[in-house]
């Protein structure tokens, strides 16, 4: 407010500095013509009309959803995978602020930003799927289905979105140079982190618990009373792996912004995360077998779905776990990143297995998404990436703000 006036003389200077990366508007526009932006523009050219079609023509015209398959790609990928992959925010924030792993501080802000944007675009994806998205606030203000796991998910995602916004506020206030607010926001950090961990524990597991009501529809190898714990544990693995994955992108794409972090230091952190990833994945691997033993479905392992289950558990849980362990042992950062990518793919596969691939596994007619559903999903991911880039290029996310020193 009054503070930015002291730095930039006119709103125009402020805009040039804060919005146009220190360039004139014309130079900024010219700089936008890059291959990535051209691809993004092409995607939007297809995506926006399809989005309009979705909201004017309805779900039947734009999706392959049916009475038998009420949930499709938008729930299976955009919502379930989106939430799991955005778990890095709470994992890193609790590690640094609560458990005292302070050296991981440089990774907290990118993780929280990914978390916040991840959840934000989950809600955007959900709005495409809901029959009447304008009633999104109904569970909060109009009618309360308190016996529903979905009620818990709805509330917690809304609250967690708010918490993550608060957690990210210091970066926004530094960008805007609002010192007083920045100080207040920092005060909230511990409380927000604790609240964020509670909310994350509950809604990450609740997304799995949703499927507790679908015995006989979700394949028995994936349907288990342990599913809330499986979803939570795998979300932690996904969160850690996404932070690793992002650190790779951040390094390549936002190298200029990484000014005051030593690459060797960053490598040490990545190896540390890799170690955590190995431990979490090993736990998850154990839980998967525990769930199988609990359901006593050993006989199903020799069926085609059994082979698919083994593929998921060995190829996308144990394999990345071993890759993480090997990479950490041999101090190979590149291998940690490969394991991170494989883990992310594995969690995506798991969520799709539960919600789409094995859902109504014994039905004669199976759902496959309409091309428009893919277009909307790709468009949402693209807009998410553009937003992430826009923010990272302006706000102190990957680097400390020169006037504020190390981030909290």
């Amino acid at each position: 407010m009054s503070e930015h006036a002291g730095h930039a003389a006119t709103p125009r200077d402020w805009a040039r500095d804060a919005l146009f990366l220190g360039q004139s508007f014309g130079a900024y526009l010219k700089g936008l013509v890059t291959p990535f932006n051209l691809i993004a523009a092409a995607i939007l050219c297809v995506g926006v009309p399809v989005a309009i079609e979705r909201f004017t023509e309805g779900l039947a015209a734009t999706t392959n959803l049916s009475d038998d398959s009420p949930w499709g790609l938008w729930i299976g990928f955009d919502v379930l995978c989106g939430v799991a992959l955005a778990a890095g925010g709470f994992v890193l924030a609790s590690a640094v602020h609560l458990f005292g792993l302070r050296d991981y501080r440089p990774l907290v802000r990118p993780a929280i930003l990914t978390g916040f944007l991840g959840y934000f675009f989950v809600v955007v994806g959900l709005c495409f799927d809901l029959g009447r998205p304008w009633r999104l606030p109904y569970p909060m203000f109009v009618s309360y289905g308190v016996t529903s796991v979905m009620f818990l998910v709805g509330w917690h995602v809304a609250l967690y979105l708010t918490v993550q916004f608060l957690e990210f506020c210091p970066a926004v206030f530094e960008w805007l140079r609002w010192r007083t607010l920045r100080k207040w926001a920092a005060w909230l950090t511990i409380g927000a982190t604790v609240f964020g961990v509670i909310l994350s524990t509950l809604h990450q597991s609740a997304l799995g618990a949703l499927f507790l009501l679908a015995p006989g529809k979700v394949h028995p190898l994936w349907y288990t009373p342990y599913i809330p714990v499986l979803f939570f544990t795998s979300a932690v693995a996904a969160g850690i792996s996404m932070v690793i994955f992002e650190s790779m992108l951040s390094h390549r794409i936002f190298a200029s912004r990484l000014g005051n972090h030593d690459p060797a230091d960053m490598n040490r952190l990545i190896l540390g995360l890799g170690k955590a990833g190995a431990v979490v994945l090993l736990t998850y691997f154990g839980l998967k077998w525990l769930a199988l033993a609990h359901g006593q479905h050993w006989d199903l392992l020799t069926t085609p779905y059994g082979w698919w289950w083994l593929t998921e558990v060995f190829g996308f849980v144990l394999l990345p776990c071993l890759l993480y362990a090997m990479a950490v042992r041999n101090r190979r950062v590149g291998l940690v990143r490969a394991a991170g990518v494989l883990t992310v793919l594995g969690i995506v596969l798991n969520r799709l297995n539960v919600s789409l691939i094995t859902y109504r596994w014994n039905a004669p007619e199976r759902y496959f998404p309409n091309w428009r559903e893919f277009v909307i999903t790709i468009t949402i991911v693209t807009v998410g990436l553009l937003t992430f880039r826009w923010i990272v290029n302006r706000m102190p996310v990957l680097h400390d703000h020169p006037e504020f020193g190390p981030a909290h």
Binding site: F55, T56, E57, G58, L59, A60, A61, L65, S66, D67, D68, P70, W71, H97, L98, F99, G100, R102, D129, L130, G131, R132, P133, R135, Y138, P139, V142, S143, G145, V146, T147, S148, V149, M150, F151, L152, V153, G154, W155, K183, A186, W187, L188, T189, I190, T193, V194, V197, I198, T201, L202, S205, A209, L210, L212, L213, P215, K217, P406, H408
Partner: protein, 316 residues
């Protein structure tokens, strides 16, 4: 004060949102409240001739799109493929051809089963479904946000959605003609129309007795299974048949556990997490702070009276 299971879930759920302190009363929940006054239906599949007049009557009573003259329902070609209930057909009849030559085909009418403890109601995040004191399970379009979790949850896959409606899509399902049966002498349209009286309307408790009597009287004609007596904790709609139900398109893997039980364990853990996590996490935080304090005191022996660091601004 006795807290029944439903109230318990309500409390647990409310705590999950409000962050209220735990009211966990670990212990077994009282048995389901089942009312002998609930109305129900009994479909005797040995009587059904597949005339589909019930489909016509249903569409007529609910004023659904796609209605045809009653004669058009004689068309047998619809039996070529298995149909399910959808947004404009709240009940459908399917034909199950005999395995051996000489036997008669079996016609099966399906519609909402009106569970004692409906999965749809326990799934709905805006409480759009309710079990009425009369027995039918009703849906309230005015609060529905269209998440379709009810359709995922329903073990009988009965709720359907008007996907083709862009601006006011809604779930549609059988209401057991609630508006009719709550009037004196009212009978659901399908039961009133059935020319062979394959569908009987009455109190569910009496229909169960009737079904038992029928099976006992002609044990060769009926299989000894009343579908809906125990499935999903019991349903108001009951079926008896002359063939095993798994041969007639019925799901026979549905346990007797009421569906809300499936998420009860998870929901009762919610207040626990809300109560325990803050203590554990703040404990970890305090531990970390203390460790740093000691480390600092050790590093600077002169200043052992380290000031208390403020939350959130450590290291600054």
């Amino acid at each position: 004060m006795s807290v029944n299971r439903r109230d318990f879930l309500r409390i647990a759920g409310a705590a999950g949102v409000a962050g209220a302190t735990s009211t966990v009363a670990a212990g077994s929940a009282p048995a389901t409240r089942v009312s002998d006054d609930w109305m129900g239906m009994l479909t005797d599949l040995t009587l059904c001739v597949g005339c589909r007049k019930c489909e016509w009557a249903c569409k007529d009573a609910n004023q659904l799109p796609g209605q045809q003259p009653i004669d058009a329902y004689d068309d047998k070609s619809v039996f070529e493929r298995r149909r399910r209930t959808d947004a404009i057909n709240l009940t459908v009849v399917n034909r199950y051809d005999p395995a051996a030559p000489g036997e008669q085909p079996v016609y099966v009418k399906t519609q909402c089963m009106h569970c004692f403890e409906p999965a749809c109601a326990s799934a709905c995040l805006v409480a759009a479904f309710r079990k009425t004191s009369e027995g039918p399970v009703l849906y309230n379009e005015n609060v529905c946000i269209g998440c379709r979790y009810c359709m995922v949850a329903c073990p009988f896959e009965m709720p359907a959605y008007t996907y083709d409606d862009p601006f006011s899509p809604a779930v549609r399902k059988c209401t057991m003609c609630f508006d009719r049966i709550t009037k004196e002498g009212g009978v659901p349209a399908c039961a009133a129309t059935c020319p062979v009286e394959a569908i009987t309307f009455g109190k569910r408790s009496e229909l169960l007795a009737l079904a038992r009597d029928k099976i006992a009287a002609e044990p060769d004609k009926y299989v000894n299974h009343i579908y809906g007596e125990h499935e999903a904790g019991g349903t108001c709609w009951l079926y008896i048949a002359g063939k095993p139900f798994d041969e007639l398109g019925f799901r026979t893997d549905i346990a007797a556990t009421p569906y809300p039980e499936l998420t009860r364990g998870f929901l009762s853990a919610v207040p626990l997490v809300l109560t325990l996590w803050p203590a554990l996490l703040m404990g970890a935080y305090a531990f970390t702070q203390r460790r740093d304090e000691l480390a600092r005191a050790e590093a600077e022996p002169g200043e052992n009276a380290a000031t208390e660091p403020q939350p959130g601004d450590h290291d600054e």
